[in-house]
């Protein structure tokens, strides 16, 4: 009886202490990242559950994963990297993640084929003590170790603000989106909406939904060019979409106004060669390498925040040349991502922990 009475205040004291530590921004020494349970001894076995391996963006992304895994292998931290390809099928991705759980991998890296479809299998992996790091296309569940991403809503907002500024708040624009039903496309478009709403001088002539590829975007924009004799600006939410749009304008002999885009190599080269008025940001491929690094750190016992917000690297006329200077290291239809190293990853983890 007396033991009970004694224990209760002790427990509440401990809780209060923990709460205080969190407020002060320090973390208890024994703090571990979410999902980490049981014994994980290096070298670790990692799995990369890819949704689709064919697009160039994905190939480059897998490249950063393999490079990071190789570096960690040399340090004796990684044993093996298993890669699966769901070929665009979320059901297959569920099955492959299930196999990774069955094979008792230490960590699973995921780029989700659907914002919701993987929720249950990922939560299942987490409950079994497997580290799950999700990047790029995020899942809805929070029962995983960490989500690493740029802010897609911010992506759309920044692009819209730049375009509105270029047009001095007045003009007719077209909006080029990714495929309908995809969270990333929806989020980017959502971010732009309040900016367009706040500037009634901006008229949206038409919107397109195409895959993030140049050819379908070019076709869609060509149709719009026939229909609209006057287009002042282009809000495009993908680098390949922008490249397709530029080609379409050029083939019709039409003058192209300010255009937003991404670090797609062809688009950046067109920007330089044709002296476009342009702005670009990027979804850095190295988010994947970061996910590998964060997973291994989590397995080593480091505290990894549930969400790591990666600032969007912006490309303007001022730093365009620094990207083009590295172009030869990237595929012709690839994305020239900003440089990265583990020091930067450590800083981003520390920054997100403080939040």
């Amino acid at each position: 009886m007396s033991g009970m009475r004694l224990r209760l205040p002790l427990a509440s004291l401990l809780l209060a202490g923990l709460a205080l530590m969190q407020i002060a921004g320090t973390t208890p020494a024994a703090a571990a990242a979410n999902c980490v349970q049981g014994t994980h001894k290096p070298p670790y076995k990692l799995g990369w559950a890819n949704i689709y391996s064919v697009p160039t963006w994905m190939k480059e992304t897998t490249g950063t994963i393999e490079k990071m895994a190789d570096d960690l292998k040399k340090q004796g931290l990684v044993d093996k990297l298993t890669i699966t390809d769901a070929q665009g099928n979320a059901n297959t991705q569920i099955q492959q993640i299930q196999s990774m759980i069955d094979a008792r991998l230490d960590a699973i890296i995921v780029d989700a084929g659907s914002a919701t479809a993987l929720d249950r299998v990922i939560a299942d992996a987490c409950s079994k003590g497997i580290v799950v790091a999700n990047f790029d296309s995020l899942v809805d569940t929070n029962e995983l170790t960490t989500k690493i991403d740029t802010d897609q809503v911010m992506w759309g907002k920044l692009a819209a603000e730049w375009l509105v500024q270029q047009l001095h708040g007045k003009g007719k624009i077209i909006v080029l989106n990714g495929p309908a039903g995809i969270s990333v496309s929806d989020d980017r478009r959502k971010g732009a909406e309040p900016v367009f709403k706040a500037n009634p001088g901006i008229t949206i002539l038409a919107e397109t939904n195409t895959p993030y590829n140049a050819a379908p975007a070019q076709e869609a924009v060509t149709n719009l060019l026939f229909r609209y004799p006057e287009i002042d600006g282009i809000w495009s939410q993908g680098g390949a979409l922008s490249a397709g749009a530029v080609t379409a304008f050029e083939k019709q002999g039409r003058k192209i106004g300010p255009i937003t885009g991404e670090n797609y190599r062809q688009f950046l080269e067109m920007w330089k060669a044709k002296h476009l008025t342009a702005w670009a940001t990027q979804q850095p491929n190295w988010l994947a390498a970061f996910a590998v690094y964060a997973s291994v750190r989590a397995l080593q016992g480091a505290d990894i925040p549930r969400y790591i917000d990666v600032p969007l690297p912006i490309i303007t006329a001022d730093n365009l040349d620094s990207y083009l200077a590295r172009a030869k290291d990237f595929p012709a239809d690839g994305y020239i991502y900003s440089p990265y190293d583990t020091k930067m990853f450590d800083d981003l983890i520390a920054r997100s922990l403080k939040k």
């Binding site: 059901n91 479809a117 039903g181």
Partner: protein, 320 residues
């Protein structure tokens, strides 16, 4: 006379239906053995259950496609229909209709859509490939209108019941087989294969060609929409695009299972075995640990060999 005359026929006919599936059974058996050898943990009851849950959506759509293909048609809207089923399930479950209402809504959706497609094909006699292609656009658009991005709500208890740790899905496979036997025992079921094999002959023998075809599309529609319901439960959400790859999987599994594009030829067991092979291949490839590119090659070779083996044997017996 009645039972004694029928009994001796039942098993020989059942046995004959395995004709042409020998190669598939052998390949499938080999892969089951290989899977167990690579991952003995699959034999644990929980693991078998999880595997069946992963296979079940493909199995359902393979059966749905088989029914349509047996009539001599094809359905290109299977994938979008699964998506729409998941979207309708995830957006009705939170309303006062509840889980029960959602199940009914999804069934009605499948039956309704299937009947419309069936009417176009059976009564108006439009080619199934065109009708279902057009339908796939309508269904995909509708799913995107209802849920522009993945979301919605699926009762967690419902998810746990269907795709949790209970062997519900294994029971569902058995229910599916029994319902099929029931279907085959009705005039509509007999008509299903008859109209695909020889519509004119079937008509002259008194089979209701139009009703058999329409009913086949309606049944197929219900199966597709219910697959959507299952996927919604499995994933805990609705997704307007989740079914997309299933159209091709359904056709591939059916053809792998010996279902003919020309109609009148095919079995439920073939469709199930075909889809099971495709599903098990995914896991075996994982545990074989081959490089990705090699996986594609191996996967393709296995499918081609499985389809080609019975034909090779057939060709040899023709020349002999």
């Amino acid at each position: 006379m009645s039972t004694s005359a029928i009994r001796p026929l039942y098993w020989p006919i059942q046995w004959r239906r395995n004709e042409g599936l020998g190669a598939l059974y052998i390949v499938l058996g080999a892969f089951v053995v290989l899977y167990v050898a690579l991952f003995p943990g699959i034999l644990a009851p929980g693991a078998v259950n999880k595997f069946v849950q992963g296979w079940f959506p493909t199995a359902m759509v393979a059966v749905a496609e088989t029914i349509v293909m047996l009539t001599g048609g094809i359905d290109l809207a299977v994938g979008p229909m699964v998506s729409l089923g998941s979207v309708v399930a995830a957006s009705t479950m939170q309303t006062p209709l509840g889980v029960f209402g959602a199940v009914l809504a999804v069934m009605a959706l499948g039956a309704g859509t299937g009947t419309i497609v069936g009417a176009f094909v059976a009564i108006a006699r439009y080619p199934a490939i065109i009708v279902t292609l057009a339908m796939s656009f309508i269904i995909r658009g509708t799913a995107l209108l209802i849920l522009p991005r993945p979301g919605g709500f699926v009762a967690p208890a419902f998810s746990d019941f269907l795709a949790g740790n209970h062997p519900t899905t294994i029971v569902l496979v058995l229910v599916l087989v029994m319902l099929w036997k029931l279907y085959q025992a009705t005039p509509l079921g007999v008509g299903l294969i008859a109209v695909g094999d020889n519509a004119e002959g079937a008509y002259r023998s008194g089979v209701g060609v139009v009703s058999a075809r329409m009913f086949a599309y309606a049944v197929s529609g219900v199966l597709q929409a219910m697959t959507g319901l299952y996927v919604a439960a499995q994933t805990g959400s609705g997704d307007p695009l989740i079914g997309e790859p299933l159209t091709l999987s359904a056709i591939a599994a059916a053809v792998l299972g010996g279902v003919s594009f020309l109609g009148g030829q095919g079995t439920l067991r073939g469709a199930l075995a075909g889809s099971l092979l495709m599903s098990i291949l995914i896991n075996v490839m994982f545990f074989m640990d081959l490089p990705l590119v090699a996986q594609y090659v191996v996967q393709g070779l296995i499918i081609v060999i499985t389809v080609a083996l019975p034909r090779l044997r057939g060709a040899r017996s023709h020349t002999a």
